[in-house]
């Protein structure tokens, strides 16, 4: 039986994100791109998680935020598109 191994993500090189959290919303700045984004809770939590732990996958995120794995997976993909995370 083959189990699907979720992709592991780490912070992208050069992203060096800085964020602020108010209630359940985050604003985050990407150092190299000099972009600023407003992120919802799961996306922000993913970054918080990555600040302490080297890598994350959608299972970790789903567990941490009590959301579905699909939603977690989409969140991480979207963060990758914004340049904050990359595949390990």
């Amino acid at each position: 039986m083959h189990s699907r191994t979720p992709i592991r993500w780490s912070l992208a090189v050069g992203a060096d994100p800085e964020w602020r959290r108010w209630d359940d919303e985050f604003v985050v700045h990407h150092a190299l791109a000099n972009d600023t984004h407003r992120l919802s809770a799961p996306a922000g939590r993913a970054l918080e998680y990555l600040a302490t732990v080297g890598s994350i996958d959608s299972l970790d995120l789903a567990h941490a935020c009590a959301i579905g794995e699909d939603q977690a997976s989409e969140t991480l993909t979207a963060l990758a598109e914004l340049g904050f995370v990359e595949q390990c």
Partner: protein, 378 residues
């Protein structure tokens, strides 16, 4: 040389001398430096020479503001190179960064406090079409759409018409040689590619060998006619020369390379005006022995043109120019990225001050407009 800009030149040559400037002098020098695009450099020089704390607070603030702009633009260039590396990943052959892009990417001596605008890339002529196609896939759009313009550029020029990125609004110039095909002076590009060195931080790109950086800087300055940047470009050249001069056999190698690339004449002028205006330590013999150096008569004529032209930056520097007066007054303002239409709804910007300059200096990423309300993530 007029006495009007001697303080600015002095500050560039001997940063410590800035501690002796009185308020009235600063009132002039800050404006001259700003117009010449050199206020950031003065700030960097002040920092490096340890005289920052001795400058009047108001003056230092202006320098600091300009340094902030320069830093942001340097970051923007680096981000741009990350994107371009992706766009050009599949392109065969080398991609060489020129001028500002090279200085920013490799933190070369001219980079400190310098403003950057366009990105200049050099590719072999055989790769030009493929490079252009790859860039277009990456969102870069050509300008100068008329058939005539296209023909003109491709036939006669050493570069394609400038390309602008659709989203990020950065401007890029794609070159296949240092000089136009139509120029009287011919220089082969192959040796430049052969000597170029890849960048550790951006493996997709290389930068010209140090000697070629000097030759390109001199060639660009004396052929491009962008006189409002003239003094700034001379300062770049001075920085490169001073850094190189510490190496063994530097001047011999520079002369030999100039001869090989047939760029002795622009080198001559570059060395001459650098040593005259900025006291770059160029041995007299080196200037004398530049291959292809012009006659004494031609040189004197050029002196009469070039030296006042360098001073076009600011009205207080200018002497009677007779014919060169047409050159633009204004170093493009690179710091205008703001919702001024909110502040000044009644005013219409002139085209060069508003739309195009806003495009030219825009930071990388495009989403610097922080309207990234991506609340939908997650």
């Amino acid at each position: 040389m007029t006495p009007n800009w001697d303080r600015l030149l002095l500050a560039l040559r001997e940063p410590q001398a800035m501690t002796g400037f009185d308020a009235a002098t600063w009132d002039l020098v800050v404006r001259q430096a700003t117009a010449a695009g050199l206020l950031g450099r003065l700030g960097a020089l002040a920092g490096r020479s340890g005289v920052r704390s001795q400058l009047p607070t108001a003056v230092w603030r202006h320098m600091q503001a300009m340094l902030a702009v320069a830093e942001q633009q340097q970051r923007a260039v680096q981000w741009e190179l990350v994107q371009l590396a992706r766009d050009l990943a599949d392109l065969d052959g080398p991609v060489v960064l020129l001028k500002g892009a090279a200085y920013a990417a490799a933190s070369l001596p001219p980079a400190a406090g310098r403003l950057f605008s366009d990105i200049d890339l050099l590719v072999p002529r055989a790769q030009l079409d493929a490079a252009e196609a790859a860039l277009m896939l990456g969102g870069w759009v050509g300008s100068h759409h008329s058939a005539y313009d296209q023909r003109y550029y491709r036939r006669w020029m050493h570069e394609l018409p400038p390309m602008t990125h659709i989203r990020r609004r950065t401007v890029l110039d794609l070159h296949h040689n240092l000089l136009p095909t139509s120029a009287r002076l011919k220089t082969p590009p192959e040796p430049i590619f052969a000597a170029a060195k890849p960048l550790a931080q951006f493996p997709r790109f290389s930068i010209p060998d140090a000697l070629d950086q000097v030759l390109h800087s001199a060639t660009h300055l004396f052929h491009e006619g962008e006189w409002e940047h003239g003094l700034r470009d001379l300062v770049d050249l001075d920085a490169l020369l001073r850094a190189g001069a510490v190496e063994a056999d530097y001047w011999d190698r520079l002369l030999a390379r100039a001869e090989q690339l047939n760029l002795g004449k622009p080198l001559f002028y570059g060395l001459r005006y650098c040593s005259q205006l900025l006291e770059t330590p160029v041995p007299e013999a080196v200037i004398v022995y530049c291959s292809g150096r012009p006659s004494a008569v031609a040189t004197r004529l050029m002196d009469g043109l070039f030296v006042p032209a360098f001073a076009t930056a600011h009205p207080t520097c200018r002497v009677r120019l007779s014919g060169i007066a047409a050159f633009g007054l204004y170093v493009r303002s690179h710091w205008l990225r703001m919702p001024l239409r909110l502040l000044l709804p009644h005013l219409t910007y002139k085209a060069w001050a508003g739309a195009t300059e806003g495009l030219r200096e825009s930071s990388a990423g495009g989403n610097n407009r922080r309207q990234g309300s991506r609340a939908s993530i997650g």
